[in-house]
């Protein structure tokens, strides 16, 4: 046998364009296209204000999608995030109304999410139950707790909270609120964690092949559980951001939001099979969802159901393209 038969030359790639980035670049292109088309069609669309609103309206979703990205890269899924978000926002509202100190309340609300994540991770790992069903049960549990704590919506009237929430930077009309600031920091931190820490790389390794990761001597148990903890924590934080933007807590918020988060992650180019994806892609995915909604509101005559149909169609296109792309690579 000669060397050249078995050891093929590694497939050459054009410099600077790694296939791994293709899906994200695709999403980026879509975002740019949507902005351009929106700007061409509607006055006041391409304004700092509208673009700023895109972030303000979706700060919580960005955080959820970031957490979801971790879980999905490990090859799992977390269906509970919408309900945990609601629970966390209710905890914020209830405790603030009960007169607790804000700096105590916010960590508690976030920790509630962490606890849910820990519970999911532990059950998934120790009892070997599928993530889908565990987090589905978690979703029902969190939703039930929401109604148990507060069947009615609770307004937040708390001076300290108002001040904290009211902070914003303005670049002309482009505003960054506290919530947006936190969401962007979360994205940045997640990016650094995923790409610059051993934990982050282990997340990818598990998604690539869990048995391999085990045999490579990586801390699989800890990493897997931690991924759910991160998702739960992000949901808790998302709830805080949600409470910040609404200054109220309501048990029915975030119904179906987990699916928005999953859709954003998938549109952002993360493979649901795990092992590939970028948190920046998820951010772009959220922006795509937000832009669809914005365009439909700007149009003003399109009925709301077009949002769903368009999101579905976009998902279809992305997923099929991704699939064909990965098939070509295989």
């Amino acid at each position: 046998m000669t060397t050249d038969q078995l050891v093929e030359a590694p497939t050459r790639r054009r410099r600077g364009l790694d296939v791994r980035y293709l899906p994200v670049l695709g999403t980026l292109t879509v975002v740019i296209l949507m902005v351009v088309i929106g700007g061409a069609l509607y006055p006041n669309f391409l304004t700092p204000r509208t673009m700023g609103n895109l972030f303000i309206n979706n700060a919580h979703l960005i955080v959820l999608a970031v957490g979801m990205t971790f879980v999905i890269i490990t090859g799992g899924i977390d269906l509970s995030v919408g309900a945990v978000l609601a629970l966390s926002s209710i905890i914020v509202a209830t405790l603030l109304q009960a007169g607790w100190n804000m700096w105590l309340v916010l960590p508690i609300a976030i920790a509630a999410g962490t606890l849910f994540g820990l519970m999911h991770g532990a059950i998934i790992y120790y009892f070997r139950v599928q993530p889908f069903i565990v987090t589905l049960a978690g979703m029902f549990l969190a939703r039930g707790l929401c109604f148990l704590i507060a069947p009615l919506s609770i307004p937040i009237a708390n001076k300290g909270f108002d001040r904290f929430v009211g902070w914003r930077i303005k670049f002309g009309d482009f505003r960054i609120t506290t919530a947006v600031g936190i969401a962007l920091i979360v994205v940045l931190v997640a990016f650094l964690v995923l790409h610059y820490t051993r934990f982050g790389r282990t997340v990818y390794a598990i998604g690539g092949s869990e048995p391999s990761a085990i045999m490579m001597g990586l801390p699989v148990t800890r990493t897997k559980i931690l991924a759910y903890v991160i998702s739960g924590t992000c949901a808790g934080l998302g709830g805080v951001l949600f409470a910040m933007s609404l200054k109220s807590g309501y048990a029915l918020t975030g119904v179906g939001m987990e699916l928005d988060a999953i859709a954003a992650v998938v549109i952002g180019g993360t493979l649901l099979t795990g092992g590939a994806g970028f948190v920046l892609g998820s951010l772009l995915g959220v922006l795509v969802l937000g832009l669809i909604q914005t365009i439909i509101t700007f149009q003003g005559t399109l009925s709301s159901w077009w949002t769903k149909i368009v999101i579905g169609a976009l998902l279809l296109i992305f997923v099929v393209l991704q699939r064909l792309l990965s098939r070509r690579r295989a």
Partner: protein, 512 residues
Amino acid sequence: MVAEDLARVVSDEPVISMTGISIEFPGVKALEEVDFRLYPGEVHALMGENGAGKSTLIKALTGIYGIDAGTIVVEGRAVSFSSPLQAQAAGISTVYQEVNLCENLSVAENVMLGQEVRRGPSIDWRATRREAQRHLSDMGLDIDANSSLGSHSLAVQQLVAICRAASFDCRILVLDEPTSSLDSGEVEQLFRVMRSLRDQGVAILFVSHFIDQVFEISDRVTVLRNGRLIAEHRTADLDQEHLISEMIGRSLAALGDLRVDARDDDAEPYVRAIGLGRAGSVEPFDLDVYSGEVVGLAGLLGSGRTELARLLAGIDTTTAGTTAVEGKAARLGNPRAALDRKIAYSSEDRKGEGVIGDLTVRENIILGLQASRGWLRKLPKGTVDAVVAKYIEALNIMPPNPNARISNLSGGNQQKVLLARWLAMQPKLLLLDEPTRGIDVGAKAEIQKTIAELARDGMAVVFISAELEEVLRLSNRIAVMRDRRKTGELDNDGNLEVSDIVSFIAQGGKAS
């Protein structure tokens, strides 16, 4: 039997000493009271047939399997690792038999995962890559550390896995069949690295089926058979024949020649492949298979035997050529079409493409029959009972309980169940890909005998095995593969020797 008085190359304490290790899987005693010692500065070969328990012994050492009995002492401390992570921390680096890396990550990451160069908590990617590249060039691997692992061939991936294991600052290096997909140049390269590590005092555990390699690299040899320790030798004191007889438990000749009479040359071949091929996997080839004969496929690992068989069975789609069944052109676009023409394929990947784990023996046997009949009309219970009883009896399937879950059977018995599945469909051409892999000697002989009988009864058989002796014993004709090309055919007239086939393979079909 264990030679206690072996002169040590380096007369230290053993770095690993495993005593009385037993492991039982449902239905299989994979290891029974095995002792094993590994000294620093030696290359120690672990030998044994398929399924002898080599990989299991390694996995017991590194904590992937828990042991049922026995003790493991590493560097003087009794240990029981519960994960490879702990084994690695104790200085044991392992390359497992199946390539165990992450194809979605880059080569550099696969080498460096878990030992990245860091500044604070943050990975310093430039330094990490530099480090990875250094390890790669130490192995003589000239590939871009930044490239994605999935873009490389299996052989390169295997080398990367070894590179990863060697890159850890380890005192014990375990290599389970690292050479199975390497060519001779790469093997040489690997051996160079192994020798240099050994000279640094690293203890190396090495598993290979290639006897020549074992004699070339190892200092000592431990032989396992059917989960039991058979012997421990200094390689220098050992001769090949003795080693082989220890491995297989009897001399080769004992089984004798099982060939059936040669075919009648006037007859129409049952299947005739003309220029059949698949871009990127098998070059176009011609092959005739007659009823009542066994055609062996010989070739080195990865020479494309499996791919060839899969084309005939309609599992992979062809990109060139035509097939004729009983003289009539036939399109074998999928397994169903092939099965409808009575062509069945038994995969080499028993677990992945053979057994349906959660189903019973009975269901596994009748699956093929039922699939041919369609989903609406269930096979009558009487027929099923008769068929199942017949094959459990004929193939001596143990336990003879049709309602046992197949995943609880031993590998050999699973293989027999699969054979029963194909036989129940009464194929006219049966393609058997490594039907005896991972099967004990007794079962192996039984299966071989069954194959010979089937041919005698008029079935056409294509037989693939890594063991050339076996191929030789059974086949009327041997098609030789090399580099995914069929390079020629040898008629087995009874005078053919293994060495003839080997040299034929080596010459790449120039001589015939």
